[in-house]
């Protein structure tokens, strides 16, 4: 694998004004079973690959760690995502995390997240993971309704979800996220309220609440196309969105991104770094790194990834204007929007004059607003985010 440094072009030099600090993402592409709606890259039933995979990730860590441009930056967040990272077992996860700590300049007390699925970890493993240095845990609960979980093709029950949260608490995690989905087949507003209420009663510090999306080529999308799945009407989904806002706010969490809610001090720094379209390293098959405005994707094939020496990368560099637009679009996902001054410093483009009448029209339609130097989506704009972003991309 060759990780050549991307030479920044003249226009890219504006990116230097970004606060330094890297995110580090490790993609674990293994699952017990593919969920029917999921289009992310992962493989099932290949435990014999786990050790080879870990060795290949370590190799990738070492290569990145050799680079002087990376040595010059501190790692501010680490995130093990998947797939189902917890499937690797606490020993392997601990070893991988140690490798990160050892080879990168990690900021003290950095946010270190791990995604787990209910029923893939036990109490002992959670204790071990907490001791190893993971301080944030993200649990893929998806629903607290057993029938819904079955429809989604999940391998756990609602009770497994609750138990996993309680075990994580006992293991000492004080920063817990729950993933939940709404707009599920045959779900009504009431059922969603029940799931959400159950989640809130567990007092998570963070919630990721996703509307179910039909992704091409998933069994779900195929069944949907054949008319076998009945999704809730738009009216119902809109009512779910409204009730979510009320219930979550009442529980002391705040929406800070289209699908993310947190206690004020528990926003996910790792993900915020993505929405700033800043710099991060992505390790593991299918993961994407973003360095100096260049995106590097590691091959989405775990066999190939584990093969030493194979060419495993695709890269994409956008010109300054395109990178600017991408950053605007990503930044608008955050409720607080984007600081226009910071944006201009970074890309040497003034958003207001750049977008001109397009922006005026969006403001006139009450889809975006500029307040205190920040461009952000309005309540209406949040519901029509893609329509807005398609104007600005």
């Amino acid at each position: 694998m060759s990780v050549r440094s991307c030479v920044p072009s003249l226009a890219d030099s504006a990116t230097n004004t970004l606060p330094s600090g890297l995110g580090l993402y490790i993609h674990v592409p293994f699952c017990l079973q593919k969920c029917l709606y999921c289009s992310f890259y992962s493989v099932t039933n290949q435990p014999d690959l786990y050790n080879r995979y870990a060795a290949a990730v370590k190799e990738q860590i070492l290569r990145f760690a050799e680079r002087s441009d990376i040595q010059a930056q501190q790692v501010h967040t680490i995130f093990f995502g998947g797939g189902t990272p917890s499937i690797l077992g606490s020993d392997l996860l601990t070893r991988l995390l140690k490798n990160c700590f050892l080879n990168f300049d990690c900021a003290p007390g950095l946010e270190t997240s791990l995604e787990v699925n209910p029923a893939t970890v036990d109490q002992a493993a959670l204790h071990e993971l907490r001791r190893a240095g993971f301080n944030r845990i993200s649990i893929g609960v998806q629903s607290f309704d057993d029938r819904e979980l079955e429809v989604l093709g999940r391998v756990h029950s609602a009770a497994d979800g609750i138990r996993t949260v309680q075990m994580a608490r006992r293991a000492g995690f004080s920063n817990i996220n729950l993933d939940l989905m709404y707009g599920l087949p045959d779900q009504d507003k009431h059922k969603w309220q029940e799931s959400l209420q159950q989640a809130l009663s567990l007092q998570p510090e963070h919630l990721s609440l996703y509307e179910l999306t039909m992704e091409g080529n998933t069994p779900f999308a195929q069944r949907y196309d054949r008319g076998e799945l009945r999704l809730p009407e738009e009216e119902v989904v809109l009512a779910m969105v409204a009730t979510t806002e009320e219930m979550v706010t009442a529980a002391g969490l705040h929406r800070y991104e289209i699908s993310n809610y947190a206690r004020p001090d528990r926003k996910c720094s790792h993900n915020i770094n993505y929405w700033h379209n800043a710099s991060w390293l992505g390790l593991g098959p299918g993961a994407v790194s973003s360095l100096n405005g260049c995106k590097i994707k590691t091959i989405s094939d775990v066999e190939c990834f584990c093969q030493p020496g194979a060419n495993k990368e695709e890269r994409e560099t956008l010109d300054n204007e395109a990178a600017f637009r991408e950053t605007v679009v990503m930044g608008l996902r955050m409720i607080g929007g984007i600081g226009l001054e910071e944006l201009e410093k970074r890309f040497a483009i003034n958003a207001i004059s750049y977008y001109g009448t397009t922006l005026d029209r969006l403001i006139a339609h009450n889809l975006v607003t500029i307040e205190e130097g920040r461009l952000r989506l309005t309540g209406q704009g949040l519901l029509l985010a893609n329509t807005v972003m398609a104007e600005l991309v």
Partner: protein, 597 residues
């Protein structure tokens, strides 16, 4: 001259004409196998994709026959669609013979007959060829019987082949030499050269395809185009080898090309006669007609910035397409554009696709219209081909619309379905007979306006693909027409107006509303759509506001993919025309003419 054969291949669409041509070209060694690509003569992408020939091309095949003699076989390719039947007839009149190609599985179809009649009118010797004998469903004996008994052609000389595999193609070349007559004519008589096609070459100007009937033509000579009454000096003559090859002269009996500094293809009219300025022939060759545009539609660029580009694209396209006409037009809803005349709906689609593909301009085409003759109460007559200029109904005495005679060939069992389709479309004066057992040739007089949009598609669907169709304009007839307007958010959109028969206005209006509801995507506000005529609204519907359009998940690994999706969404918007504040997609403008889907 006795070693020349000028011939054409006539067939129903899809019976394999282009494939057979390709195979003959290959067999005569005109292209190396490695340079070979399917449908060699169909050089436009659209032609290859749709499997039809739009712009015909001629090719000269040098052929050594089994008798050891060298022959010059000129294959005159013809367009294979009803819109272009005059071009076909001019191409045929430059030949002495034709191969009548019939699909071994499909048998004889409407255009087989129509083209056979055209060939017979031009006194061509006919060699029937049964193609696609490799198909599992092929019934060559049955088709041979139809050819002999129903068409009255000589089964002795009928050839069988599979143009796809190449089987039997060598025998066809022999049959051409043996059964088709050589041309006649006298190289020493005054020059008579028939123009049957013209193509534009950006470096040389117009390349004129001619058949020399009498006389001889050489570079340097002064020539005149008898109908067009223009004079040119010959720069080059040659033959249609691949590539074109310069010759010292062309003389009686030969087919070839003339380059004479002619700037635009429209100066060369198919059917016109070229003769020498000195010592001209007495009269032009018979059969010349001015081409008639029968379908009219306005073309607008989606973004007004593209108007200049559209102007120059049309100029360039016109160089190579003499049958396209255009003039400036403007619309309250769409801004500046052009009113264009086409030979038919296929021609319209071809022009649209070429403008978009070759010139990369996104276009709106308005509802196609035919040409109406409106007699006013003050005795004046006006020609209306654009609903926008329809006179105030109070001033109209009567209106006439063009009628066609449709010839439809179908298996007997579809008679009922076809009859009711024609009645639905205001058909009159229907007749039928059995040209062969089990098959009906159905003729019907129909308003052209009822045929231009989706009649052929509809026919194919009610006959499960077995119906074939050909038409000819016959006359203008008095008709009770009204203008149907479409209002989007209470604003009339002139580009969506159409003229329609009074009795059909209500139904048309309802369908137009439905189609628009389907084609216009939801927007941030509710959109009202209404159909009205003479100030009274008789159909309405609405498109509810778009209330949610948001991607739930977007993290580091998704950014590029999500960005590309948004870019796609943005590009889709660019292909929509903003009328008032409503974005209307391209296809919506044509959809209002669609009948029930």
């Amino acid at each position: 001259m006795k070693n020349i054969r000028n011939f054409s291949v006539v067939a129903h669409i899809d019976h394999g004409k282009s494939t057979l041509s390709d195979r003959m070209i290959q067999l005569c060694g005109l292209v190396a196998d490695r340079d070979f690509q399917d449908q060699l003569l169909d050089s436009m992408d659209i032609e290859r994709e749709r499997g039809i020939t739009i712009k015909s091309q001629t090719v000269c095949l040098p052929y050594t026959a089994q008798d050891g003699q060298e022959y010059e076989l000129n294959l005159v390719d013809t367009p294979g669609h009803v819109d272009f039947s005059y071009e076909v007839s001019r191409a045929l009149s430059s030949c002495e013979g034709a191969l009548l190609l019939v699909d071994a599985a499909q048998g004889i179809e409407a255009q087989t007959l129509a083209n056979l009649y055209l060939a017979m009118e031009n006194d061509l010797e006919i060699v029937p060829v049964i193609n696609k004998i490799d198909l599992p469903a092929a019934e060559p004996e049955q088709v041979a019987l139809e050819i002999e008994e129903d068409l009255g052609l000589d089964s002795e000389i009928t050839q069988q082949c599979s143009a796809k595999t190449g089987e039997g193609v060598a025998d066809i070349l022999e049959a051409i030499v043996e059964y088709l007559p050589p041309p006649e004519g006298d190289p020493d008589l005054p020059l008579e050269a028939l123009i049957f096609d013209a193509n534009y070459d950006p470096y040389r100007g117009t390349v004129i395809s001619v058949r020399i009937m009498n006389g001889t033509i050489k570079p340097g000579e002064q020539i005149i185009f008898m109908h067009n009454k223009v004079e040119y000096r010959v720069e080059e003559v040659g033959q249609f080898l691949l590539p074109k090859t310069k010759k010292k002269s062309l003389s009686a009996g030969q087919i070839g090309y003339i380059i004479a500094g002619v700037k635009t293809v429209s100066d060369t009219k198919p059917g016109d006669t070229i003769t020498h300025k000195e010592n001209p022939c007495a009269t032009p060759l018979p059969g010349f007609k001015e081409v008639q545009q029968v379908v009219f539609s306005s073309i607008y660029p989606i973004t007004s910035d593209d108007y200049e580009d559209l102007t120059s694209a049309l100029e360039k396209l016109k160089l190579n397409d003499a049958s396209l006409t255009y003039q400036k037009d403007s619309s309250a809803a769409l801004g500046f554009g052009f009113r264009c005349g086409f030979l038919g709906l296929l021609h319209l689609e071809v022009v649209q696709e070429r403008l978009e593909r070759e010139f990369d301009i996104s276009l709106i085409l308005t509802v196609p219209s035919v040409k109406y003759l409106v007699s006013l109460q003050d005795g004046k007559e006006v020609v209306v081909d654009n609903p926008t200029y329809f006179p105030d109904p109070g001033t109209i005495d009567y209106i006439k619309e063009p009628f066609i005679k449709a010839t439809i060939l179908i298996p007997e069992r579809y008679m009922g379905a076809v009859m009711s389709l024609c009645m639905e479309r205001r058909g009159e004066n229907t007749h039928y007979h059995y040209p062969m057992p089990g098959r009906i040739e159905f003729t019907c007089e129909l308003p052209l306006a009822e045929v231009i949009y989706d009649f052929y598609d509809k026919l194919k669907s009610v006959t499960q693909g077995y119906g074939s169709f050909d038409y000819a304009l016959i006359d203008y007839r008095q008709s009770d027409l009204v203008k149907l307007d479409i209002l989007v958010n209470s604003e009339p959109v002139d580009a969506l107006s159409q003229l329609t028969h009074r009795q059909r206005a209500r139904e048309r209006g309802m369908k137009a509303c439905e189609s628009l509801k389907e084609e216009i995507p939801r927007q941030m506000f509710k959109i009202d759509i209404q159909a009205a005529s003479g100030g009274s609204i008789f159909s309405r519907t609405n498109i509810s506001a778009l209330r949610k359009d948001v991607t739930a998940k977007c993290y580091g690994g998704d950014i590029s993919r999500k960005r590309k999706l948004l870019e796609k969404q943005k590009a889709g918007k660019k292909r929509m025309k903003t009328v008032g504040n409503v974005e209307i997609p391209q296809q919506a403008f044509l959809s209002v003419l669609k009948s029930d889907q």
